[in-house]
């Protein structure tokens, strides 16, 4: 079993009277990606802030690299990388100087900067002031900064939100490579496709509660009780059939009459699982 890097036990968080997180439990191992999925306001950013020592939980325990979150101090950041929506860049400094600055703080050699810049396709922009970067470029810059020191755990808050599909793909590729290198990645997203594709485990978060937890496949299968088949007939018409006796009889008659052109089972997506569990669509 791979090493456990993050553990959440009964984590709850209140802001004044409002309960924002309720009894969260999860684990993340070395070389895994754990996705927290949920609509806006579900508590994703709050969870990351608690795990990175930026907020205190109201109750419960969480451990990052074996250290209780209430005991962590600034030295933890030498072993974890954090990207939130509040991770800025020094706009007057160039891309390279931004990274050089943080690399010197973290004691990282200069070659690492060049290597990463090339990997994310920012190398040709290295002399640009960071304030002049496009959104996708800036997003890649903060991501590079967060992994400069080869952290063991990387926290990413909606790393691809608002990015075009091809930039998002670049980022996905980098995350997969980092996972290969053994990094554990905790990411939040409201993009179901991203979660299905990248994550080893997902937690569906709704109103501060984990309503489902498992691998993307497990979750899809679990909600595949109500199996449905999409049938394309030779006359071009379509049917959606279920597993009731009536539908099954009809399907077998159609098959015997050789009237079926194609037959597909409809697997639920994480999106539809979320809809089933919470009765609401992802924002």
């Amino acid at each position: 079993m791979a090493k456990e890097y993050i553990r959440l036990e009964h984590i709850s968080k209140k802001f004044g009277e409002a309960t924002v997180l309720r009894d969260l439990n999860a684990v993340l191992h070395r070389g895994e990606i754990l996705g927290f999925l949920g609509p806006s306001g579900a508590g994703k950013t709050t969870t990351i802030k608690i795990l990175t020592g930026q907020l205190k939980p109201t109750s419960g325990d969480a451990y990052v690299l074996g250290i209780h979150v209430e005991k962590i101090d600034e030295t933890i950041y030498e072993q974890i990388g954090v990207v939130t929506d509040q991770s800025g860049v020094y706009e007057r400094l160039t891309v390279y100087d931004n990274l050089k600055f943080f690399a010197r703080i973290l004691g990282v050699p200069g070659e690492r900067i060049e290597e990463l810049l090339k990997r994310v396709g920012l190398y040709e922009h290295r002399k640009k002031p960071a304030g002049k970067l496009s959104k996708g470029q800036a997003q890649r810059l903060v991501l590079v900064r967060a992994v400069l020191h080869r952290p063991r755990v990387l926290f990413l808050d909606e790393p691809t939100s608002g990015l075009d599909p091809s930039t998002a793909l670049d980022i996905h590729r980098l995350l997969e490579e980092l996972r290969e290198e053994g990094m554990a990645i905790f990411l939040t997203t409201h993009n179901m496709e991203e979660a299905t594709k990248l994550c080893d485990h997902v937690a569906l978060l709704n109103d501060g509660q984990i309503v489902e937890y498992g691998t993307p496949e497990e979750l899809c299968l679990r909600y595949n009780q109500d199996k449905r088949y999409r049938v394309l007939l030779s006359d071009g018409s379509r049917l959606l059939l279920g597993q009731e006796a009536e539908d099954v009889g009809r399907l077998s008659r159609l098959l015997q009459a050789n009237q079926v052109n194609s037959l597909h089972s409809c697997e639920p997506t994480l999106e539809s699982v979320f809809l089933t569990v919470t009765g609401r669509a992802l924002g």
Binding site: Q54, E78, I105
Partner: protein, 271 residues
């Protein structure tokens, strides 16, 4: 490398990082990186204007008074040079010290670089020193350059007094700058909030020349003590009275106490 041991551990509030990373130790390698970055920032166009303006003010005022004296057929009195020096030094100490420090902190928050620093293993004390020391150094350099700009040639004792008072005033004003920086979320709010107290700190000693009440009030401000020190330097009577030193000391302590209280509440942020 942990050298400076902390007195305090931080509590309270929701602003976790700063509370937790506390003000405990200084890692010299991290501090030196921040110092060199912040020192370079001093020369960016937003920040260099104030120091340049201050030296320029002393120089231009000296020229102006000089030409007035000349038209009256007299040589320029050293006490008038002291007035020009005082004006530039006041502008420099307050504008550079409070405005530049406060604006820089507000900018770090506005652009979210403060959080990036704190989540890259920089602690509150390293950030504090990294933010204030370069500004204090700039204040000192400008106060030193302003002396020849006023055409003064002080004795060694007068230089020592001037440097000493300048150092103390630089400390007071940079801590004040950090306090205002904590209270502001953006550079715009920082520049409006800071301008009024800065104006008071400059104007009270300046009007002290003309009004007895202002002169009394000025005695209770560190900028008033600085202004007197400029006069003493010009007269080559390098003395600061105990009351003046007490005023600066008390104001530094008061500013430090307010800063620590604010910092303990929520780090460099205010919700």
């Amino acid at each position: 490398m942990r050298t400076v041991q902390a007195a305090e551990k931080m509590h309270g509030g929701n602003g976790g990082i700063w509370r937790r990373t506390g003000m405990k130790t200084v890692h010299w390698n991290k501090l030196s990186v921040i110092l060199s970055m912040k020192w370079r920032t001093q020369f960016s166009k937003n920040f260099i204007a104030m120091p340049l303006f201050s030296v320029g003010l002393t120089f231009v005022m000296t020229l102006f008074y000089g030409s007035m004296a000349k038209s009256n057929g007299k040589a320029l009195d050293d006490s008038v040079r002291g007035v020009a020096l005082s004006l530039g030094a006041l502008m420099n100490t307050t504008m550079t010290g409070i405005l530049c420090t406060g604006m820089a902190l507000a900018e770090e928050k506005e652009k979210h670089t403060l959080r990036a620093l704190m989540t890259s293993s920089v602690n509150g004390l390293e950030f504090f020193l990294g933010s204030t020391l370069p500004v204090a150094a700039m204040i000192l350099i400008v106060n030193v350059l302003s002396v020849p700009a006023a055409g003064l040639r002080p004795s060694a004792a007068a230089w020592a007094m001037w440097l000493g008072v300048s150092v103390l005033c630089a400390i007071a004003s940079t801590v004040l700058g950090m306090i205002f920086g904590i209270c502001c979320k953006s550079q715009v709010s920082a520049s409006t909030l800071i301008s009024v107290p800065t104006l008071v700190l400059v104007m009270v000693p300046v009007f002290g020349e003309f009004s007895g009440f202002m002169e009394k009030a000025s005695g209770f401000l560190f900028t008033g003590v600085l202004s007197k020190a400029a006069a003493a330097l010009a007269a080559d009577t390098p003395r600061v009275d105990g009351f003046g030193l007490g005023v600066i000391g008390a104001e530094i302590l008061l500013a430090a106490a307010v800063f620590v209280a604010l910092y303990r509440e929520n780090g460099y942020e205010k919700e």
